[in-house]
């Protein structure tokens, strides 16, 4: 049996080893580093099934009072590792773009770093989902955010990327400041930073609820930035469009999932305050409307996926407002599969033609496999039955109906209809428009394997979602 914290330590050591190899082993092909990383992360992923049990949160002391290895956190550790592995596969496909953007006399300069920094992000995500203390949440969130600063502006000779990097930097740092100030106020009222003890302190009727609520609203602002909820979504379209495509995929899946796990954990102590629920319902409604309506006129696919990511944050927030953890988790799994699949296709097609939707014209003739993968991804994002996306939305709406949140259900269903329009626009371009070029697009074995696995997973979960639900119930 492996003690749970050793997983993160293994990932951190791996990151440092890869960085050292990047610095000192100049002659090897840097892609080998990526393959080695993928192999090592798969080994860590297998290790998550052999974890030693951790002490219960209520009587935990020392290290275990800010770190937990409950089923939720172990599930999301696997989620983070899987995301990182798939993003690294995309990064191997993206390597020529990175190399072209770094003019250098030496061969493959900087490519190793491009493969090494996601490992640190992964470690940050794994710590974050285990964090049950505000100090630890803050530090691991910053590990994720600071490594994303580097990744977003990685191809820094491209002006759009650099601009995305600066925007992400300023707005993320602003959200950090809100998070810290919010935590300060919660600490000031309760005298605690541990979430369990905050719950206990807030149950005491003599405590002043007002300042604690003020602190919680500031923390919500900060988490709203991470999960791209309206009105804190301004950075999303620009950063998603400007960042290197694999990083965009990582940002939209890893960062968002971690944000939702923290949100579920942090909200628990504040649920007895009725104002909280009304606030989240309001944010969810705004996010649904903004994300779906602003996506309608987009012509750039990366920007379209950015608005779609805002829209999905809205559906997830419905689940949070009903406080249905399993529904949110299932939706996040479906979201991981379909978003990474669409970005994997985008990485390959964008290098051949471009990122506009019109660049996908006639893709079905040039590469039937890529077109089919994109078709499945878009159908699942829209929520067509027999895909994972359908069951994701089904469980979310089911929870909302059970909680009698009529406004959320009505707006949710209307916006799903909007979604069909803009997702199927891409499908129309691929299958019904003539191609500008006729040559075939080649896909390497590893990407083909990863994409096939994602397609199978989406369809399988769309027909038979029981395995994930079982894993969540435990």
């Amino acid at each position: 049996m492996i003690p749970p914290p050793s997983l993160e330590i293994a990932v951190l050591v791996l990151g440092m080893v890869i960085l050292m190899l990047e610095a000192f082993a100049e002659r090897i092909d840097k892609r080998i580093l990526a393959f080695a990383t993928i192999g090592a992360l798969i080994a860590v992923l297998i290790g998550t099934w052999f974890l030693a049990p951790s002490p219960a949160q209520e009587q935990a002391t020392g290290f275990w009072s800010f770190y937990t290895a409950d089923p939720l956190s172990i599930f999301f550790k696997r989620f983070a590792l899987l995301t990182t592995i798939l993003v690294l596969i995309m990064m191997i496909d993206y390597a020529p773009v990175v190399l072209a953007s770094i003019p250098s006399t030496k061969k493959q300069t900087g490519l190793g770093e491009f493969f090494a920094i996601p490992i640190f992000t992964c470690a940050g995500l794994m710590y974050l989902v285990s964090a049950i203390d505000f100090i630890f949440i803050f530090v691991s969130l910053e590990l994720v955010t600071i490594s994303f600063y580097v990744l977003v502006s990685f191809t820094r000779h491209n002006p759009a990327t650099l601009e995305a990097g600066v925007k992400y930097l300023v707005l993320s740092a602003l959200s950090t400041a809100f998070l810290v100030y919010g935590i300060t106020w919660i600490f000031g009222v309760t005298g605690q930073t541990n979430l369990q003890r905050i719950t206990a302190a807030l149950a005491n009727p003599e405590i002043e609820r007002g300042p604690a609520l003020f602190g919680m609203v500031l923390v919500l602002v900060a988490l709203g930035f991470k999960i791209a909820a309206v009105p804190f979504q301004i950075w999303v379209p620009d950063v998603y469009q400007g960042a290197p495509t694999p990083v965009t995929a990582y940002l939209s899946v890893g960062s968002k999932a971690a944000g939702f796990v923290v949100l579920l954990r942090v909200l628990r102590p504040f649920l007895m305050l009725p104002q909280m629920e009304r606030l989240i319902v309001l944010i969810a409604l705004l996010t649904l409307l903004y994300g779906n309506l602003a996506a309608l006129p987009q012509s750039n696919l990366k920007r379209l996926l950015a608005y779609s990511s805002i829209a999905h944050a809205g559906y997830l927030l419905i689940g949070v407002a009903c406080f249905d953890g399993p529904a949110v988790t299932f939706y996040l799994v479906a979201y991981l599969l379909m978003t990474l699949l669409s970005f994997a296709v985008l990485v390959i097609v964008a290098q051949q033609t471009g990122e506009e939707i019109s660049d996908f014209d006639g893709l079905a003739k040039r590469s039937p496999f890529l077109a089919f993968a994109m078709l499945i991804a878009m159908a699942s994002l829209a929520g067509v039955p027999l895909t994972a996306g359908f069951f994701g939305k089904f469980f979310i709406f089911y929870a909302a109906i059970a909680q009698r949140q009529t406004a959320l259900v009505v707006v949710g269903v209307i916006t799903v209809a909007c979604g069909f329009y803009y997702y199927l626009k891409v499908v129309r371009a691929m299958y019904w428009q003539p191609a500008a070029k006729v040559d075939n697009i080649s896909v390497n074995v590893l990407s083909r394997l990863a994409m096939s696995a994602l397609i199978v997973a989406i369809v399988w979960l769309g027909i038979y979602p029981a395995p994930i639900l079982e894993a969540l119930r435990r």
């Binding site: 803050f138 530090v139 759009a160 925007k167 300060t184």
Partner: protein, 106 residues
């Protein structure tokens, strides 16, 4: 006599000045300074809370002061990466003015 309230008011003012700086100023360096000011506002109130949350044994609550060290460390890391990005921006565009950064639009 200086009470907890005085410290909290000062820290609130610092936070507001920092936020106003981020929203109103147009130079990236000054925006970054304002962000640090906001972090320091949180530090000040944390130390004040720690000093006034005296435990029954008469010892202040040191958890908050440890948190302050973490904030300072993380803030330093953020500045290191942030300034590197701003320097890269200046090299590429010869400007750190936010109004000149407008390639990405609807």
């Amino acid at each position: 006599m200086v009470t907890l309230g005085h410290y909290l008011i000062v820290s609130g003012i610092l936070f507001a000045i920092g936020f106003a700086g981020v929203m109103l100023r147009r130079s990236l360096i000054i925006i970054f300074m304002s962000l640090e000011l906001m972090l320091n506002a949180a530090n000040l109130s944390l130390v004040a809370f720690s000093r006034f949350h005296v435990q029954p044994s008469g010892v202040p609550d040191y958890n908050a002061q440890v948190f302050v060290f973490f904030i300072i460390t993380v803030g330093a890391a953020e500045v290191a990466v942030g300034l590197a990005i701003i320097v890269a921006l200046f090299r590429a565009r010869q400007t750190t003015h936010v109004e000149d950064i407008n390639t990405l639009k609807f």
